[in-house]
């Protein structure tokens, strides 16, 4: 048990050392502390995996923080199959991205600060996945949010960056509000916030209802949906997805770690962790499935036409997260987690490759100004190509296995919306392949379209960056092999492994149906790649014509369905108007300053009035005292 403690606390120690000593002592060597710490965590995590595979799970309180009556808050670890998978994903990605950052952040003035935040993030994320109670989960949940806020706004002198940080923070508040109420509801219902008793008792409440605003609401549906609110915010699902693309303002390693591989998947983890609650509510599951499906389709279509290399990958992330929710929503939690796990590798890899490209292009993000980079940066090209093959679902790659499992279970599962989400998922598979390869072709093939200066500057990234790429690439290809389905002669080990926690969903269909589903998704993937090749390699005039011909659609997609504008119109602008015109003083750009200055002004007037009572005049004080005595005596004795 004590070894497991090291997993989160090594990064915490690294954070403390860096934040205290980084500025004056460690400076350029700050990365060593963080890397060693997270690598240490990884080693322990692997040991934990071995233990867990031997069937050893742990649920134990380490430290009681508050004990008051039957209310108890503690730090405790639940280490089971689900946790272990998350641990491996988090520590692996984190380690590699830490190493990559050494090259990427080289020479940055806040070098030590960056690593300190990365370590803090890793700590919070590990606390989140290892929690054995909802409050600790919530602590980690808010912790990763805060780190994400810091890291998105890392270049805080850049306005767009600090705005993006703020946006992420505020949008997430909406989700977390629901999440918080959900936890409170759990406490009210079960009298505890610990997973084990909650999940054990959940079945007993399956038919309970609560009266809410005059309606009888199914209790488990309510709790599940409130929890899902948190997931929607954190995992950037519709309609709270708007923060994630903007979060790309942060340094690329941050995008890879936080906004692709780990933090954003916390929402999926939450749903999987709470599967005993979700499974009790068909409505909630349907909502999860449809939200996932619609988000994945929606994000994928936006991804088709974007030109910003990181944003395409960001939309792709949203889309893939939608896939995971789709899986959870049809009851295939283990398939969702499987996709989470494979996705972490290839998506982190895609981001790091994008970072490598940006590194070579001196920060250029626009696809239209790239092209032909493959001869300059072969390693980046090759790894990114393989990652794209994986995400496109080409057989043999990791993404193929996880995606196929989701689609098959959606098709064959008991969910009433299964067939529908399967159809959407298949379309998304096609779109995913298309935009992924559009990105590859536009970036690496053809002629270079940037300035002469940029062309001169092109170079492959240093080893410290390419080696993590290669290692992640191995993951992007091979991580799926633990879950090869029985159909292809595999053992479906992943599902078997997760069975104690997430159950074993059975598809009800014939072998031929299963072949059909697989074939359709493979065809969708390949036709996506083919179409991309046609558009961007062979007939480069088609996309332009198409965009002109369907200018309305193109514009709609290019502007991301105007969601940001819609929110701006519906929420942001009225809010700003209110702030400006009604609450004078909240107009200041800095949130805290606004809060600190604005609200006192409201109460401040009142304060000024009461303040006048304190005249500085002794007799007035005495008179007030005596009046107090008089009032008390009169009320108590003249009855």
């Amino acid at each position: 048990m004590n070894n497991y403690l090291l997993i989160p606390f090594l990064p915490l120690a690294a954070f403390l050392i860096n934040i205290l000593l980084g500025r004056n002592f460690l400076k350029e060597k700050a990365h060593w502390v963080s890397i060693l710490a997270v690598a240490g965590s990884w080693v322990v995590a692997v040991m934990t995996l071995v233990d867990t595979m031997a069937g050893k799970t742990i649920n134990q309180d380490l430290y009681s923080w508050i004990v008051s009556g039957n209310f108890k808050v503690s730090v405790g670890f639940l280490i089971d199959q689900l946790t272990v998978v998350m641990l491996i994903v988090v520590t692996t990605c984190s380690t590699l991205i830490h190493i990559y950052s050494v090259g990427y952040m080289h020479g940055d003035k806040g070098y030590y600060r960056f690593f300190a935040y990365l370590s803090l993030f890793t700590f919070c994320m590990l606390m989140l996945v290892m929690a054995n109670n909802f409050l600790q989960l919530y602590f980690g949940w808010e912790g990763v949010g805060l780190c994400s806020y810091f890291l998105i706004g890392y270049y805080f002198d850049k306005k767009s960056a600090s705005d993006a940080g703020k946006k992420a923070f505020i949008v997430n508040r909406f989700g977390d509000f629901g999440f918080g109420i959900g936890i409170f509801m759990i406490f009210l219902t079960f009298g505890t916030i610990y997973y084990e008793p909650v999940f054990a008792q959940a079945g007993g409440f399956a038919n309970n209802t609560v009266n809410f605003l005059g309606y009888d609401v199914h209790l488990m549906t309510l709790i599940a949906l409130l929890l899902f609110c948190g997931s929607v915010g954190k995992s950037a699902q519709m309609p709270l997805h708007v923060w994630l693309p903007d979060a790309m303002e942060g340094p690329t390693p941050v995008s890879a770690l936080i906004h692709a591989a780990t933090m954003v998947t916390a929402g999926v983890f939450l749903v999987a962790r709470c599967s005993p609650i979700f499974s009790l509510s068909e409505t909630a599951l349907m909502v999860v499935a449809l939200t996932g499906a619609i988000t994945s389709l929606f994000a994928a279509t936006i991804g088709l036409v974007q030109n910003d290399i990181k944003r395409i990958i960001a939309y792709s992330t949203i889309s893939q997260l939608g896939y995971m929710f789709l899986a959870c929503g049809v009851g295939a939690y283990s398939a969702g987690v499987f996709h989470l796990y494979t996705h972490a590798f290839f998506k982190a890899l895609l981001f790091l490759c994008a970072g490598s490209v940006m590194h070579a292009m001196a920060g250029e993000l626009n696809l239209q100004k790239m092209g032909g980079l493959k001869k300059y940066m072969p390693v980046t090209y090759l790894t990114m190509l393989l990652a794209s093959l994986s995400i496109a679902g080409v057989p043999g790659f990791a993404g193929f296995f996880s995606k196929d499992e989701i689609l098959w279970l959606a098709y064959s599962g008991p969910s009433p919306v299964g067939k529908l989400v399967w159809a959407i998922g298949t379309v998304v598979a096609f779109l995913t392949a298309f935009y992924s390869f559009r990105l590859i072709f536009l970036t690496f093939h053809g002629k270079f379209r940037g300035t002469h200066e940029q062309e001169h500057h092109l170079h492959e990234s240093p080893k410290v960056m390419t080696i993590p790429l290669i290692l992640l690439c191995v993951g992007a290809i091979a991580s799926g092999w633990v879950g090869i389905p029985h159909l292809l002669g595999g053992g479906a080990h992943f599902t078997e492994f997760m069975k104690p926690v997430l159950g074993h969903p059975e598809g009800h269909g014939t072998h031929s149906e299963e072949w059909m589903v697989m074939a359709v998704s493979v065809i969708a993937g390949f036709s996506g790649i083919g179409l991309a090749a046609l558009f961007y390699l062979v007939r480069t005039d088609i996309p332009v014509k198409l965009a002109a011909g369907l200018s309305g659609v193109h514009k709609l997609l290019f502007n991301k369905y105007y969601v940001d504008e819609f929110y701006s119109f519906l929420i942001v602008r009225p809010a700003i108007w209110t702030a400006k015109n009604i609450l004078i003083g909240i107009t200041d750009a800095k949130i805290i300053e606004a809060i600190v200055n604005g609200v006192p002004k409201a109460i401040g007037g009142f304060s000024q009035v009461i303040r006048k009572v304190q005249t500085g005049f002794l007799q007035h004080y005495a008179t007030i005292m005596a009046t107090g005595i008089l009032i008390i005596i009169a009320l108590m004795l003249l009855r």
Partner: protein, 172 residues
Amino acid sequence: MLAKLFFGYYAAVIILLSLLVVTRKNPVRSVMWMLLLFFHIASLYLFLNAEFIAAIQVIVYAGAILVLFLFVVLLLNLREELKVKRFIGSWPAGLFVSAAILAIVINVIRSFVLVAPPGRYSIEYIKEATHTKALGTILYTEYLFPFEIASLVLLIAIIGAIVLAKRKTRSH
């Protein structure tokens, strides 16, 4: 009956003198009225078989505390003092509050009945042992502890008076 008459006299004079103390413009006169008041209160204590208390009322209150007051009062510029108003502007509020509290308190204690059983220090006992001896005995046995604390309180008073009122500063 005689006792009641005597009480009536003392009560009337005590109240009158108290009023004079708080209403005189000239502080010296207030102090003087207070002196007289303390003597009356001391006599009242004699009525209540508290000779020792009556004695220290005269010695300590009248002899020490009031003299101290007188010294300080003489520091003031009396001529100036007689020119300004004696009450603050909002004196009716003070009057109302104190009168109201008094009314309620009197209403409460008017119906007060002694319920506690009488102790062992009956009038006869005290007469026999003399008041000072009876009081002294329990002061130095039963109430030794508070007595010691009281000595510290007096020590504090000495230190305080020196620290606050000495003229020369002795800073390092």
